[in-house]
């Protein structure tokens, strides 16, 4: 008998007991569909986390100045300005793992157009900042180094601010906004970045040249940076090295003794992203364990039914042997039956899982990511379960004595 004929015989045998076959596959169906659905949803969530971190900036680190301590009260990050402009220059120039670095000074201020006003975060920075955050302008342009050098009164608006001050779908480039009553020419609107993971709106911002910021919006000491430094490492694998190099450089420059605490701190956003993904991985492992258990149970169910089937069909097996079926033919036949049951279960499970994921995603507004490789693995694995658990019943059937089997009532 060839494979196709064996398969036909198997399908026929299974369709003779449709309800039983269906119930037997249920274990596989539930296992596989749960896995498929959860992986689709899990991967969707993971993709969303990745997108969120990508929105913050590429391979980004943030260097924050140190804390002040007054009478035992710690001031928190940035309360003592310890980063100087020379530090920034050194980071930009001396470190090979740093692609770009920019100071970011922040103030909360009221911004006004002709007839609207809006309170938002105003940042003072340099053109590198847009590169670090991979944040191009959707209209107009960003300011240049010449604007920073000359302290020109130009501003780049986030999409939210543009909408609030000028109305949606307006083109405010060339208009004037007033920040602390100082007029700034709007030269660009930034691309929409959306929300951070914590619900903070990235687009609710106005960005101006750092020199103008210091002169017109929020003054400060001349030599130190009254804010933080955003750094972009040269690659995803360079963030840890960049962090170490920056730490070493700043400790040198600040002449910190061995063992003394840093007077600054560095946040590695990639690490936070990795930690988040680690969480996803743990979840995936857990799901895999659940899948393994349910497939095991499904497999045992198949074995059970196959054993029942072998017993029920003892006479049939005896007859087949009498008319010339070899033990190997019988073994193959029952193995293919178990395999068919398992793979059918797997396929139904995949269909249900994908449908379930889609259903959950649409009703809860989650993202789903369908991965063909996971589907393939799920089907192959259910086939493997069928073979493993079908082997014993099939072997048992093949070892029947045709004389006894024919006499079996």
């Amino acid at each position: 008998m060839n494979w196709l004929q064996t398969l036909r015989v198997a399908v026929r045998a299974l369709t003779r007991n449709k309800l039983r076959s269906f119930l037997t596959t249920l274990g596989m169906v539930i296992g596989v569909s749960a896995v498929i659905a959860m992986v689709a949803i899990g991967d969707g969530a993971k993709a969303r986390v990745e997108a969120a971190f990508a929105a913050m900036g590429s391979n980004m680190l943030i260097v924050l100045p140190g804390t002040s301590t007054a009478g035992g009260a710690m001031g928190g990050f940035g309360s003592m300005p310890t980063l100087t402009w020379d530090d920034l220059k050194a980071i930009q120039v001396e470190l090979p793992t740093v692609r770009a670095a920019a100071a970011q000074l922040r103030a909360t201020a009221q911004v006004m157009s002709e007839d609207q006003n809006w309170t938002t975060s105003v940042f003072g920075t340099s053109p590198e900042y847009f590169q670090i955050r991979t944040w191009p302008a959707s209209h107009g342009e960003i300011f240049s180094q010449a604007d920073v050098d000359g302290g020109t009164k130009v501003a780049v608006l986030g999409q939210t601010v543009a909408d609030k001050l000028f109305g949606p779908n307006s083109s405010p480039v060339g208009q004037i906004v007033r920040v602390k009553n100082i007029p700034f020419a709007v030269i660009g609107i930034l691309e929409k970045k959306g929300q951070s993971q914590w619900g903070q709106d990235y687009d609710d911002t106005v960005i101006v040249p750092v020199s103008t910021f210091q002169q017109k919006i929020q003054g400060g000491l001349k030599n130190v940076i009254a804010g933080s430094i955003a750094v972009s490492a040269t690659g995803a694998d360079a963030t840890a090295r960049a962090e170490n190099q920056i730490r070493g450089l700043l400790r040198d420059r600040h002449r910190l003794a061995q063992g003394a605490d840093d007077d600054f701190s560095i946040r590695n956003l990639s690490e936070i992203a990795n930690a988040q993904q680690e969480g996803t991985r743990t979840l995936t492992t857990l799901l895999a364990a659940i899948a393994a258990v349910s497939l095991l149970v499904g497999g045992i169910g198949i074995m059970n039914i196959m054993l029942v089937s072998v017993t029920e069909r003892t006479r049939e097996i005896g007859l087949r042997m009498a008319v010339g079926a070899k033990p190997s033919d019988i073994r193959l036949q029952f193995l293919v039956e178990a395999l068919t049951l398992a793979v059918m279960g797997g396929l139904i499970g995949v269909a249900l899982g994908l449908a379930g994921a889609w259903r959950l995603a649409t009703s809860f507004g989650w993202e789903v990511l369908y991965r063909p490789d996971v589907v393939l693995v799920a089907v192959l694995f259910s086939g493997l379960v069928g073979v493993v658990f079908g082997l014993y019943p099939a072997h048992k059937a093949s070892q029947l004595d045709p004389i006894q089997a024919l006499r079996f009532e």
């Binding site: 009498a322 008319v323 010339g324």
Partner: protein
Amino acid sequence: MASAPLIFLDNVVKTYVMGDVSVHALRSVTLAVEQGEFTAIMGASGSGKSTLMNIVGCLDRPTSGRYLLDGQEVSRLSTEQLAEVRNRTIGFVFQSFNLLSRTDALENVELPLLYAGVGTAERHRRASESLAKVGLADRAHHHPNQMSGGQQQRVAIARALVSRPRVILADEPTGNLDSRTSVEVMALFQDLGRAGITVVLVTHEPDIAQYASRVVVMRDGRVLSDARQAPRVAELPPPGAAEPGEEVAR
């Protein structure tokens, strides 16, 4: 006996060991059956006739002695090889028909060819031919539960014939049939004998044994008597006549 016999059992012994007890099912049987012979094997239960049948049918191997089937020593073949011999050389007919339920007559008849690796078209053709031979060409797509006992047994005979075997082994083939259909089945067997197919029939009914050309009587694992006889001719009912026993269970 000029040519070599088709079936030749030489001092065949079969002993079953069940725990401490040895059961001597066959205590040295020597038997030769020529091609085309219609042999009935008779005997009380426990006489060893079923064991003899199983050995002749290559379902079992003798404990000692030789069994030559069509000149080939088969008593020491492996299980797989025996399956092939059964498939090619032997057709079985059972008391309880042993048709696959929920499978139509044609497919039941095709079954041996499936294991012989015959292609689909050829299988259909030969199975239809075989069904026609037993007069059931019009019942090809009936399922066993839609047929009478006699019809079912004829399907079983068609199945036994489909692989063009040298030997048909029939184990109490009329045990579940009424006397009229029994005669029909016997008529079929006599036809086969005339066509050169060797028929070995196990029965405990002397009436049935009358149709054979030779009767072997077994007792206590030995051949008690072995006699050739002029077979009674199985008279078929006139063609076209109503067959009251057959039109049940539609």
